[in-house]
Subunit: 377 residues, 2 copies
C-alpha cells in the first residue's frame, strides 16, 4: 500500500497499534510531544545510532525485518556495554518513495522482535520522507544503578582482558554477501549484453530464450549452506545481555567495558586511551569460529586481521581484576585474551610465533574516503 | 578541511572539545557507549526529530549554523510542550562528501547556541556518512515533576484555547525564500542560454560580458528588507520556554498542550481527538503579524489559511480552565482564540462574518506525494 495515501499519523498508528508497554518505567509512549519515563532509583543511559542506506546496510541482501532487528540490537548492545538494562527504544525513519506501508511493517516487526527478546518498549520516534534512500536513527534508553555502571575508563594494570563469543564472523558474512551480489550483477550484465546482441541480429528465438533467462534471475538464490552462522552474524546480530546477566550471577564486575562494533583493535585502543594504560593480547587466544577461519582462507584473507579489525561483532570487550581469573574461566562463551599493562608499553599483539606487533586501530572508519565504496576498509 | 582525513573519532573530539556540562543531571556525556543521566526526583521526557536535506531544509538558503540552531530548537520545543525542562541533546549526523570539517563546526555552533540559550548539554550522538545529502537526527531529553507534565489529552469542555506568539510567519518566510531561489535559478538559466548563443555566433565581446555577469550571480543577495521577521521565523525559530516560565509564574497549569509544528488546525485536531472533545476557534482572534498579512496578500494567499495550516511556527497551543481567563488575559504574547466544546460539535472555525466552517487538518504531511516537490502542501 502507498504510504502517501495513508499519511504520517495513520502510518504511525498502524505501525504502533500492537505495541504493549512492558516496563513500569514507560509512563507514556507514542502519541505525544515526548515519551515520558520514570527512573527514580537509577541512572538513565541514552545511546543513539544512525544507519544510512548504502553505507551501513544494503537492501539488495538485507530485508527490512532483518534491518529492523539489527538496528535495535546494535543499540541495545550499547546499553548492555555500560552494564545497564535497556528499557525504551525511540525509532526515527526517513524513507523515499520506493517504500510501501508493508516495508515499514516489516521494519517494525524486526524492531519488535529484538525489543521483545529483551523486554524493551518502543516508546516513540519520527516517521518522515527522504529524497533518496532509507535513513534510520534509533535511540535506546536504559537504566543502571550508579554503582553498577561500567565505563571505558576503569581498566587497571594487570586486569585481564576478556571477550564474549567469537570475532570476525560478521565481517566474513559481509564478504560472502558482497561476493554473491557481484556474481549476480555480473550474470545480469552478461545476459543483458547478449540480449542486446541478439536483438541487433534479429535472432528472435535467442531473444526469447535470453529474456526468459533474465527474468529467471529474480529467483537467484545463492547457496550459503555451511555458512549460515556467518550470515546470521552479519544480518541478525545478538546483543549480549546474556553475558551481562551471567557476569552478575557470577559476582564479576568488569572494571571497563564496551561492545565491539568497529573491531577489537579499535575498541581496545579506546579502553586503553581512556583508562591511561596499555595492553598485551595473544593471537592464539582470539576466539574465532571454524566457519570464519575456513572462509577467510577461501578469500585469501588473514583470519587474525579479520578478527581484530572486521567489526560488527557486537560482542562485549571487558576487563576484570586478575583475582577474578577463575570465575571468568568458569564462564561459558567468554575468553581471556590478554591483560592490561602500563601505558608506556603501548597496545601489543603477541603472535603465535612469539613475535610482538603494535596493535593498530584500523577499525572501520565510516568517514574515510573509501567507506561508501567497499563498506569496510 | 577534509573530514575523511580527520576520521570519525577525531572529528567528534574536535566538535565536542569545548562542551562544558551545565546540568547536574548530565553525569557522562560524549565518549562512551551511552550518555549517563541522573533523574531521581522527576520524570524523564524524550523526544526525537529527523531532518532530511531536500525535505525539511534546503541548503541553498539555509546555512549550517541556522540549520543546527533550528534542529535543536524544534526538539527543545517538544520538551517545553510537555511543560518540561530540556536538559540534554543527543546529535546524530550523516553527511556526504560535499561536507567539510568547517561545515560540521558551523552546524555544532548553531546547535550550541540554541542549547546555551536554554542551558542544555550536548551529551552524545553519532557522526557518520551518507551516500547523498545531509541527515540530522536529534534526540532531546528533559525532565518534569510528575504532576507538572501536560499531555495532549487533558482538555475539557469550556476550557479556553490559547496560542503564544503569532502564526503563519514561518510559512510566509519559506514562500519568500522559495521565490528568490527560483528567481535566482531563472536568471542563471537565462544567462547561460544567452552565453551559449553568443558562443555559437562567435561574438567574443558578448561572451566576455555574459561570463562576467554569470560570475557575478554568486554575489546574488535578494533584498528581504522589511521581511526580516518572516525569514527569522523560518530560519531561526525560537522554542517558547519563556511562555512555560511565565505560565508557571502566573500560576496557570494548562490542561492540554503541544507545540505547533504542522499547523494550528492539525494540532487542534490532535488535542481534540486525544481529549475526546471538539473546539470552536475565531478567525478574528488568530494572532497574525503585519508582515505575514502583507506578504500573504502579495502572494495572493489567504492569510487565515496560512495561519491555520502553514506550520513550523513552534508556538505553544494550550488549553486552560475558563476560570484562568483573567490570568491569561494579563500575559503578554498569549492570545485566547476559542474554547473547547463537546466532541459531537466537531472542530469549527468561526469566520469574521460569523460563518462556521469545519476545521480541516491539512497540516504538512511529510509523507504525501508532493511534499518533496514543494516542501509544503
Amino acid at each position: 500500500m502507498d504510504i502517501a495515501k495513508l499519511g504520517e499519523f495513520r502510518l504511525i498508528r498502524e505501525l504502533t497499534k500492537d505495541i504493549k508497554i512492558k516496563n513500569s518505567s514507560t509512563l507514556c509512549g507514542v502519541g505525544d510531544d515526548c515519551a515520558v519515563m520514570h527512573y527514580p532509583d537509577s541512572e538513565v543511559l541514552v545511546t543513539s545510532d544512525m544507519l544510512m542506506e548504502g553505507v551501513h546496510f544494503d537492501l539488495t541482501y538485507t530485508d527490512m525485518e532483518h534491518l529492523g532487528y539489527k538496528a535495535a540490537m546494535v543499540n541495545l548492545s550499547d546499553v548492555f556495554a555500560m552494564n545497564g538494562t535497556p528499557r525504551q527504544l525511540i525509532v526515527s525513519v526517513a524513507m523515499d518513495k520506493r517504500f510501501e506501508v508493508e516495508d515499514m511493517q516489516s521494519l517494525y516487526h524486526g524492531l519488535s522482535m529484538a525489543c521483545d527478546k529483551w523486554g524493551v518498549d518502543i516508546a516513540g520516534g519520527d516517521t518522515t520522507t527522504s529524497r533518496t534512500g532509507l535513513a534510520l536513527s534509533i535511540t535506546c534508553i536504559g537504566e543502571a544503578a550508579r554503582g553498577d555502571i561500567v565505563y571505558r575508563n576503569g581498566a587497571n594494570e594487570t586486569d585481564l582482558i576478556c571477550v564474549s563469543g567469537d570475532l570476525g564472523a560478521a565481517y566474513m558474512g559481509l564478504q560472502l554477501l558482497e561476493r554473491e551480489k557481484s556474481v549476480y550483477y555480473g550474470q545480469v550484465e552478461e545476459l543483458e549484453r547478449k540480449l542486446k546482441e541478439a536483438r541487433a541480429q534479429g535472432d528472435q528465438a535467442r531473444v526469447r530464450q535470453l529474456s526468459h533467462e533474465l527474468n529467471g534471475m529474480s529467483d537467484f538464490r545463492p547457496d550459503f549452506s555451511g555458512r549460515e552462522y556467518l550470515l546470521q552474524r552479519q544480518l541478525q546480530p545478538e546483543a549480549r545481555g546474556d553475558i551481562i546477566a551471567r557476569l552478575r550471577e557470577a559476582g564479576i564486575r568488569p572494571t571497563a567495558m564496551m561492545d565491539i562494533s568497529d573491531g577489537l583493535s579499535s575498541e581496545l585502543h579506546h579502553i586503553c586511551q581512556q583508562s591511561h594504560c596499555g595492553c598485551r593480547i595473544y593471537e592464539k587466544n582470539l576466539p574465532i569460529d571454524y566457519q570464519t577461519a575456513v572462509t577467510a582462507e577461501e578469500f585469501n584473507m588473514n583470519v587474525t586481521t579479520c578478527a581484530l579489525n572486521g567489526g560488527e561483532d557486537y560482542e562485549l570487550l571487558f576487563t576484570v581484576p586478575i583475582g577474578d581469573h577463575e570465575k571468568v574461566e568458569a564462564l561459558d562463551d567468554v575468553r581471556q585474551i590478554g591483560y592490561i599493562t602500563r601505558e608506556e608499553l603501548g597496545c601489543m599483539l603477541i603472535a603465535r610465533d612469539g613475535g610482538e606487533f603494535e596493535l593498530r586501530a584500523q577499525g572501520w572508519n565510516p568517514l574515510a574516503e573509501e567507506s561508501s565504496a567497499d563498506g569496510k576498509q
